[in-house]
């Protein structure tokens, strides 16, 4: 059953700092993602969205505290964080271009030892039928939208408890973005999978999110329910193109 695939777990980030060399990029972030919820972090180019997701997965030097459910994962290695149930779809999708679509999905299940990997492949093929059609094709030959679907399906193959999406709309045509976000919404509703999405494209993100944050120059400058943010004049001007 789709709805018992994922455990429910929330994420809590406290006073998160991150820097590249001497340059501090995140300057003390505090935010939460409720279990089963969808949170979105909005921010312009260079605001620190990608770094935030990388910091959660311990992929850059950080200080502060990151808690997944009850577990402190601040000092946990990236591969181990994945094993604890965090799936990260990086900016630019991060598929394996020289591997087939099927192999991309199979490597997504690398951490699993149960015998239900094939069932999950079938499950995500149902949600993303285009991937089923292209299962033997090299991922590098897929279109941008298909690659984004593949990146998400691959992330789901590890049966995550938390899905991190880094600008899934980047470089995709509006219709495809709409379709993609609809699938994300369905996924969250049907499975209760907790999601954290960072986006510049605020419209669709706020539509499916429960809660949102705005990040500017490495600091959270605004937060509130998705509805509050949608109606906020500053957000409308900066991120909704109103």
């Amino acid at each position: 059953m789709v709805d018992d695939v994922f455990d429910e777990v929330g994420l809590k980030v406290e006073d998160l700092h991150a820097s590249y060399g001497a340059v501090e990029v995140l300057r003390g972030l505090n935010f939460e993602v409720a279990a089963k919820g969808v949170s979105v972090i909005l921010g312009a180019n260079g605001a620190g969205k990608t770094t935030t997701l990388r910091a959660i997965c311990n992929m850059c030097s950080t200080s502060g505290k990151v808690t997944l459910g009850e577990e402190d994962i601040t000092r946990t290695g990236t591969a181990e964080i994945v094993r604890r149930g965090v799936a990260h779809v990086p900016q630019g999708r991060g598929t394996f271009p020289e591997l087939s679509t099927m192999d991309n999905l199979m490597i997504g299940a690398y951490t699993r030892k149960d015998g239900e990997v094939r069932d999950d492949v079938e499950r995500w093929f149902e949600i993303f039928p285009r991937l089923a059609e292209r299962q033997d094709q090299l991922a590098g030959s897929l279109s941008g939208g298909e690659q984004q679907m593949l990146a998400v399906a691959r992330a789901l193959m590890c049966r995550p408890r938390l899905l991190l999406l880094d600008e899934p709309s980047l470089g995709l045509a509006p219709l495809i973005i709409e379709d993609l976000f609809e699938r994300f919404g369905t996924l969250n509703k049907e499975t209760g999978l907790t999601m954290l999405i960072v986006e510049q494209n605020a419209n669709l993100a706020l539509e499916m999110a429960d809660y949102g944050y705005v990040i500017e120059s490495g600091e959270i400058t605004l937060s509130g329910s998705a509805d509050q943010l949608r109606n906020d004049p500053a957000v409308q001007e900066a991120y909704l193109g109103a």
Partner: protein, 316 residues
């Protein structure tokens, strides 16, 4: 000038069997390059060390040749893992210079140590394919079959069959096992591999293991053509293998094997068979090396990705 077409098939057979060995060593280079974009200059010396292990196990300890080869390949693989773990993993994978210097250092150290232990004389190592086994019906002699009026040596046939088998085993490991899938993933995109929970260090160690075992196989197969093993046996072969890898494409495994075979053919036919008519016997070895450098130069100038590769070689 006197072009002797009667002996041409001999040269072609020879080129194809030497080329297959260049291909094996080129594959060893490419396995590591594809995963790390590093050229492991110690590839040849590690292979030489493996051949000496076979020498010790088989010639000195009297262990069955094929068992000695299996043990030596296993030990080479272990050494590969050890080198990855201790000498390359501590360094930033983005910064190539330290690790390239380390592999160059390994090259010199392994060569010096081998020279110290075994000195630089050529030592005979049993040819695994000296004579046809008894159960093979005679098709000419006990060391060759007649093809096109020339002698196709059992040794060449043996080399081709062994490498074909090894390549088949490699493709099974890479395509049908979880570790192989992880290795291909790391080779394709290290960061994403980490993001699906692959331990990239361990996986690279696995690649070093396979690459080292392959190199050892190549060195053992080439030894009889060199009269035996000696610490300098792989020096020129590494250059030909590099030429083969550059020609085939440094990130293409199949390309490396084909590139190695092409280099062997070019060497045998253009240089040894044709060159001798034009330039005379005296310049043979220098011409062979020059041809290898020429191949590398031409490929880098006109087709940096090689015949079958995708990635340009930007730096070493």
């Amino acid at each position: 000038m006197n072009w002797n077409f009667d002996v041409l098939p001999d040269f072609i057979f020879n080129g194809l069997s030497l080329g297959a060995i260049y291909g094996a060593v080129a594959l060893s280079l490419v396995l590591i390059f594809k995963a790390t974009t590093l050229i492991n200059f110690a590839t040849g010396e590690l292979a030489m060390l493996g051949a000496f292990l076979v020498y010790v196990l088989h010639m000195e300890q009297g262990i069955w040749l094929w068992l000695s080869m299996a043990i030596a390949m296993g030990l080479s693989a272990g050494l590969g893992v050890l080198i990855e773990r201790t000498l390359t993993r501590p360094f930033d994978p983005e910064d190539h210079l330290p690790v390239v210097l380390i592999t160059l250092g390994l090259f010199l150290i392994i060569n010096a140590v081998a020279g110290d232990i075994w000195n630089y004389q050529v030592r005979i190592l049993t040819n695994p394919f000296g004579k046809f086994p008894d159960w093979v019906p005679s098709l000419g002699g006990d060391r060759y079959v007649e093809v096109l009026g020339s002698r196709l040596k059992y040794q060449s046939i043996g080399i081709w069959l062994t490498l074909a088998l090894a390549l088949f085993a490699l493709s099974l490991i890479l395509n049908k096992t979880k570790a192989g899938l992880a290795f291909r993933a790391v080779s394709s995109n290290v960061e994403s591999a980490r993001l699906v929970g692959v331990h990239t260090g361990r996986t690279l160690g696995f690649g070093w293991a396979i690459a080292s075992a392959f190199g050892t196989l190549g060195a053992v197969l080439v030894a009889p053509q060199l009269g035996g093993v000696n610490p300098n046996m792989m020096a020129t072969i590494l250059i030909y293998a590099l030429a083969g890898a550059a020609l085939g494409g440094l990130d293409s495994q199949g390309g490396a094997v084909l590139g190695g075979i092409l280099v062997g053919l070019i060497q045998a036919v253009l240089v040894t068979w044709g060159g001798v008519v034009v330039f005379g016997q005296l310049y043979m070895s220098i011409l062979q090396l020059a041809a290898a450098f020429l191949i590398i130069l031409i490929v880098l100038l006109f087709r940096p990705a090689g015949l079958f590769g995708t990635r340009r070689v930007e730096r070493v």
